[in-house]
Amino acid sequence: MYTEKVMDHFTNPRNVGEIENANGVGEVGNAKCGDIMRIYLDVQDNIIKDVKFKTFGCGAAIATSSMVTELVMGKTLDEALKISNDAVAEALDGLPPAKMHCSNLAADALHEAIKDYISKKGK
């Protein structure tokens, strides 16, 4: 069902956990299945210095969470904002059709976290 890459990220998820003084936090619930993901960012000089996640969800949800943190680590916010659901799924060598929606969780949570950072900074 899942690709080797998905199983790798599922069994050894990268960047699990919380960042204590995160300056950007995003949480989304997956409307389709009720799953939840939270992303913590440490942004310095417009660059994502550190990122961590917590996820309540299926194998695909955990793998996409892990993958998205790996994809954005060290990236600028602009670069991070360009990461789409499809890009996350692609980086995992694809997801089963019924599981494509799970990748929304990861990309949306990331985008929420960046938004959170920008709005906090603006204040």
């Binding site: 699990v16 299945c33 939270r38 309540f56 299926c58 194998g59 799970c102």
Partner: protein, 386 residues
């Protein structure tokens, strides 16, 4: 890696003896039972013997047993066959919210054909109330269909009382006993059952074969048309190896029933107790006592079912879950929701369904592995309070 199978409610391995007799009826005794010649005679005889074995398991007469392609077909035949044959008497059917989809979707189809269906609620243990059944009866009610035991949470329904009620009111009573057969004592006369569905692959018999018990005199019409097999109720060349295999599986179930029940109950209770001792924030789903001997269904708060399953699978344990994420559908298990579980709690449900091949060692291994997995998953969960 050794693999441990805890998904017997999904399907069971075919018993070695069953497989052996099936093989004989595939390659050697392969005749069509409708044929006049010796090849036909030997399979015709075998089919009738199997019919007797299935009947014996249910306390029925052989001519009240008809072979189908499985539990789903038996359920469809029971509901549609009775509904259409008794349309003149009434158009109301009573069932429950926790039936298998074979029943629920057949009911939805019947609603489109002009029937009215009452879906009874269940309590927090997934138990149907006899009082609710009684109150739902109208003068248009022609059929009550209540499952014997639930496939997800294992709760066993008050079949005898519902059967009694139906009998008094002269309404047909069907029960989907796919999970109960081979796991519970069933006597269709004692329990007042008019029609009953069963499936071969849940009782160490083959997939693709099932049976329906139809009490003599019940008015029912066929849903499939063709030749005159199964007294025209279920046309199509008889699946002889499947039938013979089901017959053998029924025979074994009759012989081993008491032993299976005590073995499974023992393992089940050990597993439940162990989980309760080792893991916090859990919820046992289904009735504490009145449940299938091999059924364990537990919600683990803060985790999601599919990731739990995948982790167990990586450790060699096969199980199932009522999570939406395993089914590709929008909602988690309709059974868990009907019992009043929230989406989140339903999401974290795990079903471990034990079978006759399982051992204490299997239980111990599971009790060793499960806490580690939960710790890992809970440490990743945004829902975890700690």
């Amino acid at each position: 890696m050794e693999r441990i199978y805890f998904d017997h409610s999904a399907t069971t391995p075919v018993d070695k003896e069953v497989a052996k007799v099936m093989l004989e009826y595939m390659t050697e005794k392969f005749g069509n039972p409708s044929s006049v010649h010796s090849f036909g005679r030997e399979t015709r005889k075998a089919v009738e013997e199997a019919r007797h074995s299935v009947a014996a398991l249910l306390g029925a007469a052989a001519n009240e047993i008809f072979f189908t392609s499985g539990g789903t077909e038996s359920d469809n035949l029971a509901l549609k066959g009775i509904a259409f044959a008794n349309r003149k008497k009434g158009n109301h059917i009573i069932t429950t919210a926790i039936e298998h989809h074979a029943i629920l979707h057949a009911c939805e189809y019947l609603e489109k054909q002009g029937f009215t269906v009452t879906y009874l609620p269940v309590d927090e243990n997934a138990m149907v109330s006899v009082e609710d059944v009684k109150n739902a009866i109208t003068d248009k009610t022609i059929l009550i269909s209540v499952m014997f035991a639930n496939n997800e949470v294992g709760t066993i329904q008050p079949i005898k009382e519902i059967g009694q009620l139906a009998k008094e009111k002269k309404i047909y009573f069907h029960t989907d006993a796919v999970q109960a057969v081979g796991n519970c004592h069933i006597d269709v006369n004692e329990l007042n059952i008019d029609v009953l569905s069963l499936s071969g692959h849940k009782i160490y018999g083959p997939k693709g074969i099932g049976a329906i018990y139809i009490r003599k005199g019940v008015k029912i019409e066929s849903t499939q048309h063709g030749g005159s097999q199964e007294r025209k109720l279920r046309p199509g060349t008889e699946n002889v190896p499947g039938i013979v295999g089901l017959g053998k599986a029924a025979e074994l179930a009759s012989i081993e029933l008491d032993q299976r029940i005590s073995h499974l109950t023992n393992l089940r209770d050990k597993l439940i107790k162990g989980i309760q001792e080792k893991i916090s924030d859990i919820k046992l789903n289904g009735h504490k006592e009145i449940r299938l001997p091999g059924n364990v269904n537990i919600s683990f708060l803060y985790v999601e079912g599919e990731s739990l399953l995948l982790n167990l699978d990586l450790k060699g344990i096969a199980a199932s879950s009522g999570s939406a994420c395993t089914s590709g559908s929008l909602d988690p298990s309709h059974v868990l929701l009907a019992m009043g579980l929230t989406h989140e709690v339903a999401h974290g449900s795990l079903r471990l369904s034990l079978g006759r091949g399982n051992t204490e060692a299997d239980i111990n291994y599971c009790l060793e592995v499960l806490p580690q997995i939960l710790e890992r998953l809970r440490s990743m969960s945004p829902l975890n309070a700690n």
